[in-house]
């Protein structure tokens, strides 16, 4: 049975920074939503349903905040869904919104994801001890550093690869007016001189903690302007820990990617995908996910980074927006990747636009590298 067509027809995002003290949660969401609706040229009566995504409620200290936000989200009298799949949630939110159109249930859906981390303390929210679970108490960086170290050992990648990713993404972010961190003058030397936080991850190789939101309008038809047609979506999950689990190159990610490429009719991702927005919260995850996604063979991902192929102008520009390394409102970070992929396809990425984009990847992951969500968007249905 054929799915209905679905396309992104508008995107919007906030200015991201560490503390958006000028807006409430509602104001933050509306900043992104109003921009997405203007970009799509739609108004509230055009929206059939609203899908909200964000990471743990403890990040803001509000239980199911979409309930109190229903007015601001324009959801009154409409269907409202709230998705939560850890760090991958922004991507899953886009996929759920897409499925509502692809299933023929709705014609136009608003997907919005946000995090206002300054309302609370994310480190505290992530560190509540729970029975029968090994306490890490190290935040995300401490959790992922051993995976990075393991990747370096397995692949034989030189130590400067992580710093190269940081330089590329922060310089890309300087071209993005919404980015939290904009560092046009960053250098390999300055990254390598920054404080070591969780060996081998340095301060400049780490994502910031941001307040921000992102919104996209998904429609069953183009609305006058350009559209980013959704060619494929994929979700996969595996448990956090079990004996023999490959946390460097998780099977859930590999299987999600394989399903994604199959659905999109892509046999050689490196040559057929023109730009990729990949969830890279710590620099080394660029080469790790290039391998997990099938852009490079295991152990070879760092070579794409080192040869400059992941820069704007390279064979596969990765994170021309600056990515998670430049802005990380956790719940929105995945949707930002998906929206940036759509912006590239629609030719609306401004100063960080990659030339001649026909096909783009949006990617997000969450939990202990165990939740994956992805989509492929393109210029034609």
């Amino acid at each position: 049975m054929a799915k209905r067509l679905a396309a992104v027809v508008g995107t919007g995002q906030t200015h991201h920074t560490s503390k958006r003290l000028d807006v409430s949660m509602a104001g933050l969401c509306r900043e992104a939503i109003d921009r997405a609706m203007a970009d799509a040229g739609v108004d509230w009566p055009d929206i059939d349903a609203v899908v909200v995504g964000k990471a743990p409620d403890l990040f803001e200290g509000v239980m199911m905040p979409e309930l109190f936000l229903a007015d601001a989200l324009g959801a009154n009298g409409k269907p409202l869904l709230r998705v939560h799949t850890a760090g991958s949630v922004g991507g899953t939110t886009a996929n759920v919104a897409a499925s509502l159109v692809q299933a023929g249930v709705h014609r136009r859906v608003l997907a919005v994801a946000f995090e206002k981390q300054s309302e609370s303390n994310a480190m505290w929210a992530l560190s509540i001890p729970t029975p029968f679970s090994m306490p890490v108490h190290a935040g995300a960086g401490g959790y992922f550093a051993p995976h990075v170290r393991s990747y370096i050992r397995r692949s034989g990648a030189p130590e400067h690869i992580g710093a190269m990713v940081a330089v590329k993404d922060r310089r890309n972010g300087a071209r993005n007016p919404h980015a939290h961190l904009r560092q046009p003058d960053i250098t390999l030397e300055s990254v390598q001189a920054s404080t070591m936080l969780w060996d081998p991850i340095r301060y400049d190789e780490t994502c910031p903690s941001s307040d921000g939101a992102c919104a996209v309008i998904i429609s069953d038809e183009a609305l006058g302007g350009s559209a980013a047609w959704i060619h494929a979506t994929a979700l996969r999950t595996e448990p956090t820990t079990f004996a023999g689990r490959d946390q460097v190159n998780p099977r859930a990610g590999r299987e999600a990617a394989a399903a994604l490429w199959r659905q999109a009719g892509i046999t050689d991702p490196l040559s057929e995908v023109d730009v990729a927005e990949i969830y890279v919260p710590f620099s080394w995850f660029e080469p790790m996910w290039l391998e997990n996604l099938g852009f490079a063979a295991p152990g070879e991902g760092w070579k794409l980074t080192e040869s400059g192929e992941t820069r704007i102008g390279g064979a596969l520009p990765v994170n021309p927006s600056g990515g998670v390394l430049c802005s990380n409102p956790i719940g929105a970070s995945g949707l930002l990747r998906f929206a940036e992929a759509a912006m590239q396809v629609m030719g609306r990425a401004g100063e960080h636009q990659v030339a001649d984009v026909r096909t783009a990847l949006g990617h997000a992951y969450g939990g202990g590298s165990q939740f994956f969500s992805m989509w492929v968007v393109g210029t034609t249905p």
Binding site: K3, M64, L67, A70, G77, L80, L100, P131, T237, P239
Partner: protein, 351 residues
């Protein structure tokens, strides 16, 4: 578009307190086993998994992440989660099946309310800037709603007690119920108020529990069960959170969802009404006449596992079709303060 049906349902006993963790694993493993073996399925046969739960109820971030351990999700699975009652996870799974990507889905919800002070926890659903700092607890708010209905003549305290008495009598045939028994309305009315005008029998109990439903499409559903409960309409809507800005004696979101889902002509309705007056309100909103059998399970007044109870209503309603007791049924779920968000699922048997 495929036709989608409920083909299986299982639930834990509703109990005041369990000894397990707040991530639900101990409650979920037995009911996954029950529902899958009942259908002759293994976890590998399930195309899509979707769950509903709340981190605030669990008192920790990412409680659903550990719940995935109950599945044994390796090889990896296609899975999603809503921070809502699992009835909305069922909705997401229904949509997933409509896309044609999968032909089976397993939906689960869990809640261990005994882990915290439920009345206070639920206050955190309110506007965090203007309302929640006053800590209006969930029973106090329901009392305001009940009072408005009493004063407008929409229901009486006797009407409310009769709902409680009927529910507990019906729950005598439900082995999963937390409360059941013959109670006298006069005796109930003689009891003291818990939060005037609500007495304890007007309020759903604090419950630990979980529920699971299996959905399947077309021929797959017919293979798996003799009499699938075909979903003919499933709709949900949300109302304004502004408690002073909406008429609390009705539920516009329920009215709209019921109309869109086609609630007419149902024989049995399982309504997610955590307070006795809310059952009366929901009956009116859905236009259910006296001929409709409401909450034959005893409803959530006899066991209310948060984030699983709405899914449980759909499961209980579907059960009447699966067993051949009814041809057309309705399951309802609610979420948010004072019936803010509502879902209606209408199902029928086809012989």
């Amino acid at each position: 578009m495929p036709d989608v049906a409920v083909v299986g349902f299982a639930q834990t006993p509703c109990v005041r307190r369990t000894t397990g963790t707040t991530n639900g694993v101990e409650m979920l493993v037995p009911i996954f086993h029950e529902v899958l073996t009942g259908l002759g399925l293994t976890k590998g046969d399930i195309g899509f998994w979707c769950s509903g739960s709340s981190d605030y109820l669990a008192g920790r971030a990412f409680s659903f992440v550990s719940a995935v351990d109950a599945i044994g999700a390796f090889p990896p699975i296609t899975e999603s989660h809503v921070e809502m009652d699992a009835a909305w996870a069922l909705y997401e799974a229904w949509v997933k099946i409509l896309t044609g990507e999968v032909d089976t889905a397993l939906v689960y919800g869990f809640g261990k309310s005994s882990a915290g002070q439920l009345r206070r926890v639920m206050a955190l659903q309110l506007d965090p800037y203007l309302v929640a700092p006053l800590w209006p607890d969930s029973i106090g708010l329901a009392g305001i709603q009940a009072r408005l209905g009493l004063e407008s003549g929409q229901w009486s305290e006797r009407d409310m007690a009769e709902v409680a008495a009927r529910s507990r009598a019906d729950a005598m045939s439900n082995p999963h119920a937390q409360f059941a028994g013959e109670v006298d309305v006069e005796e109930l009315l003689a009891r003291p108020y818990l939060a005037d005008p609500l007495r304890s029998h007007d309020c759903a109990p604090i419950t630990d529990g979980a529920a699971v439903v299996v959905l399947a499409a077309d021929d797959r559903a017919r293979e798996l069960c003799d009499r699938p409960a075909w979903i003919t309409g499933i709709e949900h809507r949300v109302d304004s959170p502004n408690l002073g800005g909406r008429d609390l004696t009705t539920s516009p979101s329920t009215v709209a969802a019921g109309k869109a889902a086609g609630a007419d002509g149902v024989q049995v309705a399982e309504l997610h009404a955590p307070f006795t007056h809310q059952e009366i309100l929901l009956r009116q909103a859905l236009g259910l006449g006296d001929e409709v059998r409401v909450n034959p399970s005893g409803g959530v007044l006899c066991g209310n596992p948060m984030f699983a109870a709405g899914l449980g209503r759909i499961g209980e309603a579907a059960k009447r079709v699966l067993t051949g007791e009814a041809d057309r049924v309705l399951g309802h779920a609610t979420s948010g303060p004072l019936l803010q968000q509502n879902l209606v699922c209408v199902m029928e048997g086809r012989d």
